[in-house]
């Protein structure tokens, strides 16, 4: 067992990460030890990142212990860079975290700064001077490179920087020289934010946290007004909206609604969120209240204005799309589906259920195979996802229909039969495991109608362990009206 992480006091006693626990205990007998939980650490880091969303929408993880916040254009909202840094560090320290934070022109430089001193702010162009005296380990390069640098007598970053770039590249690789250049403020590595930047963001902060449902609803509808007004100026409508609720104790809850058509009216946004909040399985828990609510449109589309009043059809399809959005907001987008025909003979794959929000127009224009005129229905009205096995005692004709069968513990005597309709599997897709099916349409003594099939040709496809032909299984696949 080795030490995975330690606090400041332990560090001062001379313990270090990677040290065997027995040695550490020998140095400090009353050491308090906890099991390392990497998953929980990652979870906490991502929770903190959620919380940091309040400062900027661009938050990136720098695992295992760091976060990058791109605060370009955000600092003035918090009274300047120093005030922002102070607010952030204080809030996190209040929660019991040891924080080391810094602001610099490049992410690598800021990270290097946090390794040595907290709270420093480096102006553009001052990077090289700021990290000049720091040890090379602060760069966060591989252990081998750090050791190599030290062995070469390059103790501080300034020493390394004083060497020519080609020398460093030749000795330690291009990656390290790029890292060094970034740290010195020459160019920057892009951070990869956790969430894509939403197209539009509006937010409301509260000096006094809000907790009541009415206040939350009112805030949301005001925000919706502002958001829609902002989008309207650019002729946009929202397809995906996200409301984020920032609790005073740092917990962030995000709620998303999607729409099938771009939304251009704030009343619709309001209604969708009301439906969604109303139907949440685990309701919004305000705790001690929310001190910030943010509404963002993460997917937007240019709205094409259609003539509304004269065309009743347009009105109807709008109404339908709005209804589908409302239902989807309430019970989930995957639960509202339309159907698209598929080019296959296999009954269970002939129809694809697709989300109604996204495929409504496609489904309305789909080409379905025409039915045979003056024929009774050839396909059952109800189809089982998984064909259900039935017991067939015997069939008089070996490859003929059964005379009776047992399904769900009830016996059915066959009165009328039509078939077989043979459906062969798609050999160009399957791995040869699927069997040919012979379907029969069957009516029993009560008038109930079944679609049953024999899985495999008689004495042709199904064999037992000895290689002799075995009797194929029978299944009910659907029920006719």
């Amino acid at each position: 067992m080795v030490i995975h992480a330690l606090n400041e006091v332990a560090e001062r006693l001379g313990l270090y990460i990677g040290q065997p626990l027995a040695n550490a205990r020998a140095m400090c007998p009353d050491l308090k030890v906890f099991d390392a939980d990497v998953v929980a650490d990652a979870k906490t880091l991502s929770d903190i990142a959620d919380w940091c969303d309040r400062f900027t929408p661009l938050v990136a993880l720098d695992a295992p212990h760091g976060l990058f916040l791109d605060i370009t254009g955000c600092a003035h909202l918090f009274g300047g860079e120093a005030a922002l840094l102070q607010t952030l560090v204080r809030a996190l320290a209040r929660q019991g975290f040891a924080v080391s934070a810094a602001i610099a022109g490049t992410s690598v430089c800021a990270r290097t700064l946090t390794r040595q001193a907290t709270g420093s702010i480096v102006a553009d162009g001052g990077e090289a001077a700021a990290i000049d005296r720091f040890p090379v380990s602060a760069l966060g390069a591989d252990e081998a490179i750090t050791t190599g640098l030290r062995r070469a007598g390059l103790k501080t970053i300034g020493d390394v920087a004083s060497r020519s770039a080609s020398e460093i590249t030749a000795r330690f690789g291009a990656r390290f020289s790029t890292l060094l250049a970034h740290a010195l403020g020459q160019g920057d590595a892009p951070i990869s934010p956790r969430k894509p930047l939403p197209d539009y963001i509006v937010e409301k902060r509260f000096a006094e946290p809000i907790a009541t449902d009415t206040m939350i609803a009112m805030t949301l509808s005001r925000l919706a007004d502002t958001l829609i007004a902002a989008m309207e100026k650019q002729g946009k409508g929202a397809r995906r909206l996200e409301a984020a609720f920032f609790r005073t104790d740092g917990v962030v809850r995000a709620i998303m609604v999607e729409t099938g058509r771009p939304v251009t009216r704030s009343a619709v946004v309001d209604r969708l969120f009301r439906e969604r909040l109303d139907a949440l399985a685990d309701p919004l828990d305000p705790g001690f209240g929310f001190d910030m609510v943010r509404l963002s449109a993460s997917r937007t589309e240019i709205v094409v204005q259609e003539q509304r009043d004269l065309d009743a059809h347009v009105h109807d399809s709008d109404e339908l799309a709005a209804l589908i959005d409302r239902i989807a907001a309430r019970i989930g987008g995957k639960r509202v589906v339309v159907h698209l025909p598929q080019n296959t003979h296999i009954p269970e794959q002939a129809v694809l259920a697709a989300s109604a929000q996204h495929h409504l127009t496609a489904a309305m224009q789909a080409e379905w195979p025409a039915r045979a005129e003056s024929e009774p229905p050839l396909r059952p009205l109800r189809l089982f996802d998984q064909p259900e096995p039935v017991t067939v005692p015997f069939a008089t004709v070996p490859d003929g229909p059964p005379h009776q069968f047992t399904w769900r513990r009830a016996k059915h005597a066959v009165v009328r039969v039509e078939g077989p309709e043979r459906i062969a599997m798609e050999w160009w897709r399957q791995d040869g495991k699927q069997l040919t099916r012979d379907y029969f349409r069957i009516e029993d003594a009560e008038g109930l109608r079944f679609w049953i099939f024999r899985d495999g040709l008689y004495e042709g496809e199904v064999f037992d362990a000895d290689g002799k032909p075995a009797s194929p299984n029978w299944y009910v696949h659907g029920l006719f009206a």
Partner: protein, 262 residues
């Protein structure tokens, strides 16, 4: 009972009648089913802007589905159909198949399916959908007895249907008829295929439909045949060859009891 009390009752009844009918804006909007006797009993056809309930036993689920699909096909008239079903009913009687629906004579392009997890969300969704006048009909498919679908819920659906003019069809599989605000209530069983020559063994869908309750007319029981091509019901097509009466035509003692319910 004294005369005064009787008259008081009569006044109250007429008041209730007036309250109920006053809200019915689309009262005269009826769609003929195609079966003359049934249409006569329904005073011209199935009322739009109302709720109609179709009950069946568990194993008759497909027949009842067929009947409801037929009714929906009659009332929607080129408008979208919203089909709300509970997850559980799909396990019991299978999913509504769109290929089957197309074979039945309906247009699968106009069907939007809502897969509700439970009865509450199914009810809520259908009430919401019934208020949307862009729809032709809303089908609510429930399996088994449900505590949640009581008179209040039924009244909500009826009010929504009356205000928008959308027809609500309730498919209640494996449930006993209960008092509700439905305009009509049916009990469905499968009937045998129409008799025919030996080579045509498989016929058009046929239903043994019993009208258990009809707000504005008599009840009855008919064998109704669905014409997939014309998309309407009809009288059972006769075949000259005499055939033995099928057991489904015989009145069932259990059915006589059910007739009293509601």
């Amino acid at each position: 009972m004294s005369g005064a009390r009787m008259s008081a009752l009569a006044i109250l009844r007429s008041q209730i009648e007036r309250i109920e009918t006053a809200e019915v804006v689309h009262r005269h909007d009826r769609i003929a089913l195609g079966h003359s006797e049934a249409d006569a009993a329904l005073k011209g056809g199935l009322a739009r802007a109302a709720i109609h309930e179709v009950f069946c036993e568990g194993r008759q689920g497909a027949a009842a589905t067929g009947f409801v699909t037929g009714l929906a096909g009659r009332v929607t008239a080129q408008r979208p159909l919203l089909w709300v079903r509970q997850d559980f009913s799909e396990m019991e009687t299978g999913a509504l198949s769109m290929s089957g629906l197309a074979e039945f004579g309906l247009d699968p392009r106009r069907v939007v399916m809502v897969r509700a997890a439970d009865v509450e969300s199914a009810l809520r969704t259908s009430a919401d959908a019934l208020a949307c006048d862009a729809l032709g009909a809303v089908v609510l498919e429930l399996w088994g007895e449900t505590r949640q679908f009581d008179l209040v819920a039924s009244r909500k659906l009826t009010l929504a249907a009356q205000s928008s003019g959308v027809t609500g069809l309730l498919l209640r599989m494996a449930a006993q008829p209960m008092p509700s605000t439905a305009e009509t209530r049916w009990m469905l069983r499968a009937a045998h295929s129409p008799p025919g020559p030996m080579w045509s063994v498989w016929g058009a869908p046929r239903f043994d439909a019993e009208l258990l309750r009809n707000r504005h007319g008599p009840c009855g029981r008919w064998i109704m045949e669905w014409k997939c091509d014309e998309c309407q019901f009809s009288e059972p097509s006769a075949y000259s060859q005499p055939v033995a009466a099928a057991p489904a035509h015989r009145p069932d003692p259990a059915v006589l009891q059910q007739r009293r319910a509601g």
